[in-house]
Amino acid sequence: MPLAPAIETNELRKVFGDNAAVKSLTLQIQQGEVFGFLGPNGAGKTTSIKMLVGLIAPSSGTASLLGAPLGDLKTRARIGFLPEHFRFQDWLSAHEFLSLHGNLFGMERNRLSARIDELLERVGLSDFRDKALVTFSKGMLQRIGLAQALLNSPALVFLDEPTSGLDPVGRILVRDIIRELRGQGTCVFLNSHLLSEIEVTCDRVAFISHGEVIRLLELATLDTGQVTVTLRVAGLSIETASGLSAWADAIQLDGNCLTLTAHNEETLPEINRYLVTHGVSVYEIAPKHVSLEELFIETVGKEGGL
């Protein structure tokens, strides 16, 4: 029997007053997938997550998590959640905090105890297990929050901006943890502004705007074939440059700097050969792949969120 999708939503909608925060969200995410949720500020990303984890009631539409309707308590025991503006019970110590949340997950005492030690070690907070959270830095709170979301070894975990408070070392930690989760078959729903993070961790991304998916992308096929190349050259005439149109588009010559978009990577040696045989000195050829950031701007528009 095939596994139920980790997340399935059908025209999920949330209206606050006259404002539709999420217009119509239709998604299907498989178990074990690492899924990136992208969009400008105010696109409805956090509202969507809040509907899925049961903080906000949808105005209309349906959704299921791990095959069960939203709000199913047994399913919630298999879901982890790190909220965006993480604020925790800061009067507890790290160990007490994880203990409280493990108990709320209904975890058995011995398993919980072992899991707390394991996770404190994993997020690098073993030395702070008895320190009160009120003394923690933003980055440390983010780490303990992540540990909280993973306590129950979830089959599906929602991470809303998990790296927002972290320094580069912390970000690498989160990235590694996400990779481990994928290895364990956990579905990760990742909402992040850090596109480079998404690019290296996610299998698939959805671009959303005004609460609708406007583009779904497999990151494995992000490379559309086209390559933007910057060349540093000398002795290139306009006529010779225009001859490059056989292999490339968007040719621009600015002094010694030539930029063009080659139809594919295989044409680069031919372009080089053509330039050399036409008496052009080539000092540098730097191909640049289309980044997620460029796709984001292209998809969502330059104005971003408001």
Partner: protein, 284 residues
């Protein structure tokens, strides 16, 4: 473990660690000190000396009346401290956690939202019983040691005072599930004040035989039955003689019936049920 008990324990520990209770305890201890010293001074100057053999039976009765009056005045202050604690705990709890966002990682666990309300309620109910026992017990003990006076129906009276604090705490939780902590505090103290004024109108009305005034008082008791519970508690614990003498600042001349006590219990349960409903439907 049942999530209600996990959350009740969390609420209890939270209140203690966040110093709300510590502040309340300090205030309570200050009150007990001031009260004991005050009682001691009154006792030393106006009570008949215990070793004088000619002290008559009448004087003993008068002494007991003085003790009873001071005891009720003390318990009135204890009740007010308990109410203030109940209102503060209840007002901040849901509103504060919704505002700070700490509620988000709680309600997304495999628990019902009603568990959150019941757990918090139970935690505060535990705190309030300890707080009131400490203050009321201290007041009773202080008088008992100094003058040998013990109020009648002490347990029934304390139970009614406890019920009053629970009513106020539950009303505070109801508003806290929908409005900010500050607005909740304002509304709850406003309601408490309304009941207080209503109680006085009722008492004065009873003395002056004004049926309308008594009805106004009963109406405010229906809106929030806090003051009527105090008056019933005072009635239970006052000496039989002061009951005959009529109006006193801390006693009760128009006595709320047992029906009003039953109403208060039903009222509390209804407000608690409404709190669950409001909190269940709230977007967090």
């Amino acid at each position: 473990m049942n999530p209600i008990f996990i959350l009740a324990r969390m609420t209890f520990v939270q209140a203690i660690r966040r110093k709300i209770v510590l502040t309340g305890l300090l205030l309570g201890v200050c009150f007990l000190l001031v009260f004991s010293i005050g009682f001691h001074m009154v006792y030393a100057t106006s009570f008949s000396p215990p070793n004088i053999s000619e002290a008559t039976g009448i004087q003993h009765i008068i002494d007991a009346e003085k003790s009873s009056g001071l005891f009720l005045a003390g318990l009135y202050a204890v009740t007010f401290l308990g109410i203030a604690m109940a209102a503060l705990l209840g007002a901040d709890t849901l509103a504060g956690e919704i505002n700070s966002g700490t509620i988000q990682v709680i309600v997304t666990k495999p628990i019902r939202r009603s568990d959150v309300v019941f757990g918090k309620w139970l935690g505060f109910a535990g705190l309030l019983v300890l707080y009131l026992l400490l203050l009321a017990g201290g007041t009773t003990l202080s008088i008992l040691v100094q003058s040998g006076y013990m109020a009648p129906h002490l347990l029934a009276g304390l139970a009614l005072i406890y019920l009053e604090s629970l009513v106020v705490m539950t009303v505070a939780m109801l508003f806290s599930s929908r409005f900010s902590a500050l607005a909740t505090g304002g509304v709850v103290f406003g309601l408490y004040g309304l009941a207080f004024i209503g109680g006085w109108i009722e008492q004065i009305g009873a003395v002056l035989n004004s049926q309308t005034a008594v009805q106004v008082g009963i109406l405010t008791s229906l809106i929030i039955p806090s003051e009527s519970l105090w008056r019933r508690a005072a009635y239970e614990m006052q000496s039989p003689l002061s009951g005959l003498l009529g109006i006193s600042p801390f006693g009760a001349s128009s006595v709320p019936s047992l029906l009003m006590v039953a109403y208060a219990v039903v009222y509390l349960l209804a407000v608690l049920a409404l709190t669950v409903r409001v909190f269940q439907q709230r977007d967090l």
